[in-house]
Subunit: 404 residues, 2 copies
């Protein structure tokens, strides 16, 4: 088999961990597999480099940040190759550029445009384990670029697509994808499989296993991958296109996002174009809006509505500033804001073919005495905003109702 | 003027020092100069990377060591570019590969084969300061290479030749080249100028300012360079082809090498081919031999001589082991070895046209009561081996006689 294995920063945090990674790769070799290993920077290294740059200048140039940060993964690939040599296994490290990873020129968040895996194939054919630096690439003009957050996962999945690997393993510090965060829900179970769309919903809902863009890339190119532990040999979770079989399960997972804040604008004039102006201004301020709910207002006087939406907590001050400036112009009433909310979501492709899922969720919450603030649904997801103080209790109850 | 400036590891040891380097480059810009800056890894970084590699494997693969060590300079170029940006000066960093430095494939001690400075010229023409990673290059096949000890000096001098710079400044932690090590000879004076050949002799005699290979490269390509401080603005020492003028000075400098050991083989059979066999065996053991002296032996019996030579101190155990193995075969008597020697040298192109220099040196030593163990001369150098305990006193006396 041709396998791409990715190891993140905590899996290569020191030379002992790197030796452990090498011994795992050695096991694959002993089974006759050919292996491409993608590694991140040793944990802490990237943060330290960012700290050094900011000591010099608060907002360093992005081209130079890429030049700087790319050294982190370059260090790991060399050490990983040496660790394989110490086990008597032939191995060669390649930077992103050497591996043929060509990106656009958007420094610090470049997109992979093309991969020319000629060198990788050549080395694999020589019997080498190939160690590729994650998170980085090179423009056609030879500029060093980095792929942004979750970039090493993306490198692994893109390489797996380019070399037509039989298997792509994302080795991390968890055993796989769970029905819920086990720290919050002790009953949470590891999933054997999950569809790309479910994984995407969970990623965007605050489950921290993987960044959405890597999953999107895998979906686009049909790369089946496994999320598994770098510490043990338990089977992980397979992420793949949904199958008919998967729809038998109504809810795949439950997630809780505690990183959102809610804003309510009271008495927004009920006229065409008002909402557009509000959200354009907020978008222009770089604030990401998630859920939006508009309630009809039954006050006296001119027709008006209450408008609620959620934003990422760190963006709240910026959102408020923007709204304060907009208030006299548009003429809404008070601006209410709270950070004391949790967004609880259930996700499952089975919802498409099952009815009554929302009702069952709301009923469960009602029985727990949890009030629902906002509701938002998609074809495979139902999200509700609840009081932060009751969010974890609500999560456990919903998990028990659907997955217990 | 077009200037190449090189800053070593201690000059870029932390972000404050890097900011200081940037402010020096800014001064050049303010004078209207165009500047290419060559930097080393921050001091300690390279040693730390070597330590990490050796934690994994005592003798790591050299290709991977190059991949690993090249990150040190890459880190510094990015931080230096950012430091220039913080002063409002446009600057772009380039790895050795990006700067067009092509080397052979001898990892960890590659030789520069060719420099294509197209990118550097392009950036200079845009008004950028160009920051180039010292110590590194790339083979024609795209392998990362490093140039070995003193590699950043070599990068600076080779770049100065390739871009036809008006000036090449090697900025370091000393003010220039001195007539002797000021820590040993308080009277030592900074030289205004020195010839390549004198600099080469001093380098090979243990003066630690620069590695021989960089000076050889400068001599070969006629690159005039200046050794100067990175901390102050004092003029440094100009290193260049010798001029008629320089010959007026008989002795340019005095050096003392305390890192040699002396071996004497007593009663070596005085037959053709014996010395050749001895030095071939020692050379095969990787031991570098410096001075060799053979004395006629006046004993009775078969004709025999005493053979003395010096080796680098760390090589002494290997030399002894080799000689022990050779002893029964060749049939010499005792092997005497001592580390308690110092090699004192005077260097000057003026010796070519002045007589009596050796006599004056020996006379000075005799008056100090310093016994001479071995003597070796070249056209521009006289070296003597003396007892280590008297070596520094001897050095000061010789310095006073010729340069006081």
């Amino acid at each position: 088999m041709l396998i791409v294995q990715k190891y993140g920063g905590s899996s290569v945090a020191n030379t002992d961990r790197i030796k452990h990674v090498a011994s795992r790769v050695a096991q694959c070799r002993a089974r006759g597999d050919r292996v491409v290993v993608v590694v991140s920077a040793m944990s802490g290294v990237t943060d330290n480099l960012i700290k050094l740059a900011r000591e010099i200048m608060p907002l360093p140039n992005e081209r130079e940040m890429d030049m700087l940060l790319a050294t982190g993964e370059q260090t790991t690939i060399a050490l990983t190759a040496i660790a394989l040599h110490s086990l008597g296994i032939p191995a060669v490290s390649l930077t992103g550029a050497q591996a043929g990873i060509v990106t656009d020129g958007v420094h610090t968040k470049a997109r992979i445009q093309n991969i020319t895996p000629r060198k990788i194939h050549e080395l694999l054919n020589q019997g080498q384990v190939v160690i590729v630096a994650g998170f980085q690439g090179q423009t056609r003009e030879g500029q060093v670029t980095t792929l942004g957050r979750g970039g090493s996962d993306l490198t692994a999945i893109a390489l797996a697509a380019a070399i037509k690997a039989d298997l792509c393993q994302i080795c991390t510090d968890v055993d796989g994808v769970y029905t819920a965060d086990p720290r919050l829900v002790p009953d949470a179970k590891k999933l054997e499989e999950i569809s790309y769309d479910e994984m995407l919903e969970l990623a965007s809902l605050g489950a921290k296993v993987m960044q959405s863009r890597s999953v999107e890339f895998a979906k686009k190119f049909g790369v089946v991958f496994e999320v598994r532990s770098s510490l043990n040999d338990h089977p992980g979770t397979i992420v793949k296109e949904e199958t008919k079989n998967m729809e038998a399960v109504v809810v795949r997972g439950v997630s809780l996002d505690k990183n959102q804040a809610k804003v309510t604008l009271v008495g927004v004039p009920d006229k065409p174009g008002v909402a557009a102006r509000i959200f354009k201004a907020i978008g222009d301020a770089g604030v990401n809006v998630d859920m939006i709910v508009q309630n009809i207002s039954h006050g006296s006087g001119a027709p008006a509505t209450d408008l609620s939406f959620t934003v990422d907590k760190p963006d709240l001050p910026r959102a408020q500033k923007t709204l304060d400036a907009l208030k006299p112009d548009i003429g809404f009433g008070r601006i209410l804001a709270t950070e004391k909310i949790g967004k609880l979501s259930i996700v499952g492709v089975g919802m498409k073919s099952h009815t009554g899922v929302a009702g069952r969720m709301f009923d469960t919450l009602a029985r727990e005495g949890v009030n629902i603030d906002m509701i938002s649904t998609s074809e495979i997801k139902i999200s509700v905003v609840v009081d932060l103080g009751k969010a974890e209790q609500a999560m456990r109850a919903v998990h028990a109702a659907f997955l217990g």
